[in-house]
């Protein structure tokens, strides 16, 4: 499933034109990206949470050369699925 399929879902289910459906879908992802880029978490009940985590700087090694390197502090994104989704995925 890609953005094209999501636009199709919005078009089929809600009756907007393809063009309007595309605008809406793009907007949703733009808002989510802006929120996460600002460091704010995104919590979608029934689906899951996208959480921005601060990682501290640490020492690492280049696995190819064995050389010690500093891994700088950074922000990463993690996803924790909702229990509702996990249950639904494991129901036979």
């Amino acid at each position: 499933m890609t953005k094209v399929d999501i636009i199709q879902v919005v078009h089929d289910k809600l009756g907007y034109s393809k063009k309007d459906s595309a605008t809406i879908v793009e907007s949703v992802f733009d808002i989510m990206k802006e929120t996460l880029a600002s460091g704010e978490d995104l919590k979608i009940s029934g689906f899951g949470n996208l959480v921005v985590k601060e990682k501290k700087a640490r020492k690492g090694r280049n696995p190819q050369t064995g050389e010690e390197i500093e891994i700088s502090k950074r922000r990463v994104l993690t996803f924790k699925s909702s229990q509702v989704l996990r249950r639904a995925m494991n129901r036979e």
């Binding site: 809600l14 880029a37 919590k43 994104l77 996803f79 699925s81």
Partner: protein, 93 residues
């Protein structure tokens, strides 16, 4: 930001009523959940992808009692962040 904040932001940005924005957000996330339930993959360029990972049965421990328990096989969704979003999150842009 939770789901109602996202609905509010979408309504404001696209001039939708609260009901219209709610329907749009709900149908998008429902289609995601339906896809993952079928074991499918969702790939949004610039955002990331959701895939289903299969985990086999393994012997785990009850963290409270320390007793060994058999964990049954399960499926879990896994998110891989896309390049653009990864960079934006890290730079705070």
């Amino acid at each position: 930001m939770n789901k109602s904040d996202l609905i509010g932001a979408l309504g404001k940005k696209e001039n939708l009523t609260e009901r219209q924005a709610t329907e749009a957000i709900n149908s998008i996330f429902k289609s995601f959940a339906d896809k993952l339930k079928k074991g499918g993959r969702i790939e949004i360029r610039g955002f990331g992808s959701f895939v289903v990972r299969d985990y086999g049965s393994y012997a785990g421990r009850n963290p409270k009692t320390g007793g060994t328990i058999q964990v049954t096989p399960k499926k879990l969704p896994f998110f891989k962040v896309g390049k653009e979003l990864k960079e934006r999150v890290n730079s705070g842009a």
